[in-house]
Symmetry: C2
Subunit: 450 residues, 2 copies
């Protein structure tokens, strides 16, 4: 893996001379200079070893790579009308009550009465209480078990800090790439094996149409930690009550902890559970991470939460919540108080109604995409309980399909293999976008594929 | 260290029975039940091992402990007029231009034109550019080297994720507790030794009046990473250009990386450097973390930044900035766009003027505190280039002094030993507060100590 010039053995004075880049050397797109398979960088070597875990990451973070390709495409075709069904970024304006609550809060910070500095690290009491009430009916979860944060993605890495390197991890395959990547970074995973396109020591639980997108737990081996996302990103599948009961029982039988990601819970349109804590016994085996991002358009505002139940204990009897609290106080600080004011407004009855209508707007987009691809005779999944439509292109590499769609229609998508080897042959289409865009994208896809 | 009931060897069915707490057992204040030195918790043991690093943390996070004692004091004396010179929380209203910019931005999120979702993970281009211009005159640092974040404390842990467990760390003693605690959490440190009150494998570089609060580098052994804070929290000492030159040379000679914390840079009133990058050669050995929190009253709003120069390389020649970018994209997400709008307004000439006047307000408070303690004949440090006043109480344990001050004057402070063994006998007084409070605190301290 490590092809970089080793200079730690050089005397530091020598190593600290600027390395002059010769014109004959090949300069890569990322500024790295290569000669005879050895990479040289203009700079000065310290004697600090690079973290071996970082070296195990085999490529860029998926969504950074997508952005990079988008930029390249625009450079190549400056007049292209590029349209994104890619990263899953909310596009519709915030509900008025949320925006005005944040605006009012921010403006009041200029007054002696309205100024606030540090609040509690775990989040403001009123917001924790509202989350427990609105999402957990004050029964499934206590307000003291809710930790308000700056979003699920950050929470996943904080949970990895909490768990450390000495645990084994299982993920759905395909799954949101931050699970595997953060596992690698914290040191739970072995090298990436190009053939299998998997990291050693991570258990990939395949989710495909063959098993109704739910892992074959009867054949699964034990892992300490099971990352599970429902409604799923990227497949769009929402696990049923029965499926989640199986998952909870599996975790209980194996003494595992489920990290349950419900960032898309508000998109559940049928009776699939919106929280793992709807399943009996889940409080003893699960942590839940969730977010205002996709629910209320907070992708840029940043607000989420994590629930750690009191009953969840490590093998030595120590409460997980106590370690998560320590991580929150030490490695985080607190969510922005302005974002928290927005979250509180969102959980009012007016805010909830407005947020739900945003969800329905995006779900109508999803319906258009599902109809588009179905009419083209493709295998189409998701889109019923999630803002993602998961389309199969049999026999094709998903990065090739991604490139072809981008080249011929100027539409950004996400290649399924970016979510794990189980995503090969698939493309994820995001339903985020204004209606006009989605209709235009549908037209372009039809003219490409019909 | 591990006194918790081990139940991983029990069959899970047995372990998952609720443990009934007997009335005869001693219930501690934190809900943990103790019997014969073994701690029992009402809950269910999984088979997931507790992270050994978390077990090495020997107590609560310092500022959580302070908050806990404040709450206890208020419960004991409900009518007490408690006053905080403790955690260092800004108290004065935000400058109007900052608050109104954030309010305007937040309100516009409700419109199709003003709505923004995900921005770049590294921060908005305009803000990165403004930071490079205002704080680094566009010479010391490039805008592409600036990563906008939700604050220094979070950045420190993200830098630890980047570095991993296989590096050695040195800290000033005393120092901001998140350096040592995050080192322990990531696995760089050995157990806490009660006698020395230090963690094994961390190098504590003593900073006291004897060495003008600058470590004796001529006797210091090498560490991969050197955490260094100037102006210093808690001692209030700003390192001179000459001192920082020594530090940079030491890092260059040893191939170390300095993580330079300049959260209090705006409080420098003389010609001490405000950035490590003012020192020649620093770009090849230093990362800088900084913040809008104390500079512009953003403790609750949350905004900071980290600079990683292009030239800084690991021993194998790999650029540190590339790994930090990967961490930013994978383990963070991005700072709140509303907070970023506030940061940009702060860096306008009107914003800077207003922020500087806030700094002067707090520095006038510091002067009052310095005069108070000097007039009482105490040894007083800091307060000239920092909002912290560091006062020695010879022969006394700082937690005892903390408790005595709280009990007799209702003033919250921070005991020096919370920042490391080198802080013993000291108390840190924060100059954050409105003038009336500071004057009242001065009066109370005079009546206690004179």
């Amino acid at each position: 893996m490590n092809k970089f010039l080793v200079c730690s053995s050089l005397p530091f004075a020598a190593a600290s001379q600027p390395r002059i880049v010769q014109a004959s050397l090949r300069v890569q797109e990322d500024g790295v200079v290569q000669e005879d398979g050895v990479v040289h960088v203009a700079g000065h070597c310290t004697k600090v070893p690079r973290n071996v875990n970082m070296d195990k990451l085999h490529n860029r973070y998926l969504f950074s790579e997508i952005s990079r390709r988008e930029v390249q495409h625009i450079e190549k075709y400056p007049n292209a009308k590029v349209m994104s069904l890619g990263i899953g970024d909310t596009t519709q304006p915030l509900p008025e009550i949320i925006a005005s609550s944040m605006a009012k809060y921010a403006q009041a910070l200029a007054t002696p009465e309205g100024y606030r500095g540090y609040g509690p690290e775990q989040g403001n009491k009123a917001l924790r209480k509202a989350i427990a009430e609105v999402f957990y009916q004050d029964v499934l979860v206590k307000e003291t078990e809710v930790f308000v944060t700056d979003g699920s993605q950050c929470d996943i890495s904080r949970l990895q800090l909490l768990l450390g390197s000495n645990v084994t991890v299982a993920v759905q395959d395909p799954s949101f790439p931050a699970y595997v990547d953060s596992s690698v970074i914290i040191g739970q995973a072995d090298d990436f094996k190009g053939g299998a396109r998997k990291h050693g020591n991570i258990k990939y639980m395949k989710c495909s149409p063959q098993n109704n997108f739910f892992p074959d737990l009867e054949y699964a081996s034990r892992a300490d930690i099971i990352f599970f996302c429902s409604p799923n990103n990227p497949t769009g599948h929402a696990a049923t009550w029965k499926q989640l009961k199986k998952l909870v029982d599996f975790a209980r039988d194996n003494g595992s902890i489920i990290i349950f990601d419900t960032a898309y819970a508000s998109y559940v349109m049928d009776d699939c559970p919106r929280s793992i804590f709807e399943i009996p016994g889940a409080r003893e085996v699960a942590i839940e991470v969730s977010s205002f991002s996709k629910f209320a358009g907070f992708t840029g505002v940043r607000l989420g939460w994590t629930v750690v139940p009191d009953e969840l204990l490590f093998s030595n009897g120590f409460p997980v919540i106590k370690d998560f609290d320590r991580i929150t106080c030490t490695c985080f600080n607190r969510a922005s108080n302005i974002a928290q004011a927005g979250g509180l407004a969102c959980l009012s009855s007016e805010g909830m109604k407005a947020a739900e209508s945003l969800v329905h707007y995006y779900m109508d987009n999803a319906k258009i995409l599902v109809e588009t691809f179905t009419s083209l005779g493709l295998e189409v999944y998701g889109g019923a309980n999630a803002p993602y439509v998961w389309v199969r292109f049999p026999g094709k590499k998903s990065w090739d399909v991604f490139s072809e769609i981008l080249e011929k229609t100027d539409i950004i998508t996400v290649p399924g293999s970016g979510f794990g080897p189980g995503g090969e042959e698939y493309i994820r289409f995001s339903a985020y976008g204004n209606r006009k865009c989605i209709l235009e994208a549908s037209k372009r896809m039809k003219s490409l594929l019909s």
